[in-house]
């Protein structure tokens, strides 16, 4: 079953920082997808990482100290 709001997006200040964070998630084997920042959030600032909502805390722990980390918000 697909739950509504079953994804979160992780936002960074810049594209380069998002790419760096993606590399970390890949190395840790955390499922993720790089997507454009959703329209309703804002879309002139590029890309973000979509993760499963169940992984939110895990992802936060892994990425919170990465430079440029801003926020994890529901998709």
């Amino acid at each position: 079953m697909i739950l509504q709001n079953s994804y979160r997006v992780v936002l960074f200040k810049s594209v380069n920082q998002t790419m760096w964070a993606e590399k970390i998630l890949r190395e840790k084997g955390i499922p993720h997808k790089l997507i454009p920042v959703p329209r309703q959030i804002s879309s002139d600032c590029g890309v973000c990482l979509r993760v499963e909502s169940g992984q939110e805390e895990h992802v936060r722990n892994v990425l919170v100290n990465v430079e440029g980390f801003m926020e994890i918000v529901p998709l």
Partner: protein, 195 residues
């Protein structure tokens, strides 16, 4: 008294996130931003949340008032939107994915691009829009040798879309001198409706 969100000095997309949070508990809010990109993003947020927008430039920032809309306003806008989208079909769109034209000899690729833009600027009727992404956005920043041609096209009503992700990647957002900062949604839509 409306709830105020002071988003000056905040990096994109933080102003939108803060405004979005405020809208969860308030029908109407004032958002204060200090740049054009944030203004555009807040306007887009307002649209998705069905709020009307009015803004005022003040010395300490752009004050944007978001207010709950009447149902009839929303209907009218939806109709208008439908007409606009329909009219945008069959546009002639150019896509520029790098700052030079073709691969091979780089010096040659540079002059080819200059020559190309000169020709486009003289083309009648001009295309409707140009999308620039990856290193193509470098053609829109100060120091670009085709800037004059691009500005001329823009003056004639041609839309220039610069990939915002790419400007961010190359750290060129502050140096944009033509076109407007765009995003993957807009680029996709324009490409799909192009003739």
């Amino acid at each position: 008294m409306l709830d105020r969100v002071d988003a000056c000095g905040l990096a994109c997309p933080q102003p939108v996130i803060n405004a979005s949070k405020a809208l969860e508990t308030n029908d109407s809010i004032i958002v204060i931003v200090d740049n054009q990109t944030a203004l555009e993003n807040i306007k887009r947020l307002a649209k998705s949340k069905e709020r009307s927008v009015s803004c005022e430039m003040k010395s300490d920032g752009i004050y944007i008032v978001l207010e709950k809309k009447m149902a009839i306003e929303t209907d009218l806008e939806n109709n208008h939107e439908g007409i606009r989208n329909h009219a945008s079909r069959d546009e002639r769109v150019l896509v520029i994915s790098q700052e030079v034209m073709g691969r091979g000899d780089n010096a040659l690729a540079v002059i080819l691009m200059k020559s190309f833009f000169h020709t486009i600027a003289e083309t009648v009727p001009a295309p409707d829009a140009i999308i620039l992404f990856n290193s193509g956005v470098k053609l829109l920043v100060d120091g670009s040798e085709v800037l004059e041609d691009i500005r001329l096209l823009e003056k004639r009503g041609l839309r220039i879309l610069a990939c915002g992700t790419c400007l961010d990647y190359f750290k060129l957002k502050d140096r944009l001198r033509a076109g407007h900062v765009s995003n993957m949604y807009e680029i996709k839509e324009l490409m799909l409706t192009a003739s």
